[in-house]
Symmetry: C2
Subunit: 355 residues, 2 copies
């Protein structure tokens, strides 16, 4: 697919959560239709997509049928099984490509890749057994954090090590999975850059946002981030470097720690990112449309920001605040239509315009 | 339905064109699902709605099934057959209600209603036959315009009378339908007010926009309209008067002619309105969300405007300009995904933010 996707074209999206939902809406603005593939029944994205396939990631026939019905494939989360991608790849273009996925699916590969670009990361060591862990703790010191190499998100698959007594329980928590120990970085702020790269190699970045996490889950993103001019341009250049190195097509989220000396890459996400939701009410073109434009082979949009915004996630019972939020001036409410409220579950978010 | 519609609730929309499409997207932001009812196959709104019923307006069984699957019913166009509404009304709440529909479905009833509120309209006379027409032309003078009382939109069902020679052809063009002759109003601008009323009677209006029509079709809306403070507040008060008189729930479009002495009501549309599309990029809460909020029994949103905007419709071959528009700074492109380009067909619109 070298030409831009024509009006009425179909974008296949792997994963039907809130990100797929908002991607579908953005695709509709550009005259496209979406087909969601998700193993769970009634995915939130299904409410705003023309087609939904409900089938396991291993269902060879369903995957082939899905591919036959779409023009291009993208995804809303990075932990798609390799076998699924192997099956889809010869059938339709997958954007962003396999390289970005393989890098971001494995925390060790990701850190080695970032270092290979001359970027800074937290100190780390691979851990494949209890002996590795003891050696890694010696090397990096405590506190440190042990993480599974694969399939972690929102603080899951992680164990903090503050004292020697935490070492064995941390290893046990990995349940035998390959892991990586990360040293702590002392930082003043967490920021993220949401950047996009188009099929022709053009790059566009949104203004960096400043993130507040609670219990491993993003609570709030504020734009503009408190950065000086040098840090702001460094953050964007660094994101562009990653995009170019991966020959990337689509939107990428880059989480960074800000220290007095440097910007340290925490992690990258090869997809639209929770910390980019503010763009829905702060920009003419939001991150979801930017991603769809890239995936469809359209020119990237103008990511200029017209307002200061605070994005706040609505997690679990936060949903009870919606009636009040709906009445609040300068607040835009975005709900995901999830059938069940659960503690720690992202139910929606609000963007508050700061005048 | 006196309480607000709960998360996951289903809004039934009669009509699946671009207005239904953008209503569906707005409903998804508030955690609702939509079910579109439209006689034509593959309606544009179907791309972003969870369910679509394709059936004629006369299909009693399909209508009953549709009603059983939704919590509340709204519509994207006013020319819904009376029998359809008669069937649906006892089954589910219809918002806005029958009164607004019956007033706006008939140009004569509409003008009489507006006059009864003390509002100004163009001079008019009912025309039920050639003799009526001759008498009405005598009374109102020429030029004048003959319109069918019912089912007209985008300049259809209209014939202009400039000289006596136009009278008979104008009558013939009505094909025997009851009509209304309207005198011309000499105005400086055409503006419209997009206003909403909630279930509790609260009213909110967006800033009036100034419209440019070409060949009976809206070409452009600019906000702010060139109005003095008095005209601006009069326009909004007048819209509120109409909303209250109709005990209205939802968004209403009011088209006005501006003369040195007065605001003259051209017509009202009991639905979201093409001249309100600018709100998508000029406000935190757009007209589509405002309508869904009202229909769902939620509080109305803050309609404050954060930017000056020019909305331009993309009609027929204007679609060829999309590649260039996608590259233009401060332009947001909205396409409707219609399968076929036809002359005079609205294919999309763009909102240009003016800085």
């Amino acid at each position: 697919m070298t030409e831009a996707l024509a009006q009425g074209g179909v974008i296949g999206i792997l994963g039907g959560g809130q990100l797929g939902r908002m991607l579908s809406v953005a695709a509709s603005r550009l005259g496209y239709r979406c087909h969601i593939y998700d193993p769970s029944p009634q995915p939130p994205a299904g409410h705003v997509a023309q087609h939904v396939t409900t089938a396991p990631w291993e269902d060879v026939q369903a995957l082939a049928q899905f591919a036959a019905q779409v023009d291009v494939i993208t995804f809303e989360f990075e932990n798609i099984p390799t076998a699924t991608l192997d099956l889809l790849e010869p059938l339709r273009p997958i954007r962003p490509g396999r390289r970005a996925l393989s890098v971001s699916q494995d925390r060790l590969t990701e850190k080695e890749f970032l270092r290979s670009l001359g970027l800074e990361t937290a100190p780390f060591a691979p851990v494949d057994g209890p002996e590795d862990l003891a050696r890694a703790v010696d090397q990096l010191g405590m506190p440190a954090i042990l993480k599974t190499r694969r399939m972690g998100y929102d603080g899951k698959g992680q164990a903090r090590i503050d004292t020697a007594a935490d070492i064995q329980p941390a290893w046990d928590a990995m349940q035998g999975a390959s892991a990586i120990l990360e040293g702590f970085v002392s930082f003043s702020q967490e920021i993220s850059v949401i950047a996009a790269r188009g099929v022709t190699g053009e790059v566009a970045a949104f203004d960096p946002g400043e993130n507040v996490h609670e219990a491993g889950i993003l609570r709030e993103t504020r734009v503009p981030a408190r950065l000086n001019g040098r840090q702001r341009s460094d953050a964007v250049l660094l994101a562009a470097k990653i995009l170019n190195a991966l020959d990337y097509v689509g939107v990428l989220g880059v989480e960074l720690f800000v220290t007095p000396d440097a910007l340290i890459v925490n992690e990258i996400a090869p997809r639209v990112h929770n910390s980019g939701h503010w763009t829905q009410n702060g920009c003419s073109i939001d991150q979801f449309e930017q991603h769809i434009r890239a995936v469809a082979g359209l020119p990237l949009g103008d990511g200029g920001r017209h307002a200061d915004v605070v994005m706040e996630n609505l997690i679990g019972d936060d949903l009870d605040r919606v009636p009040e939020l709906l009445r609040t001036r300068d607040v835009a409410v975005h709900l995901y239509g999830k059938p069940e409220v659960r503690a720690g579950r992202k139910m929606g978010h609000v963007n508050r315009i700061i005048r």
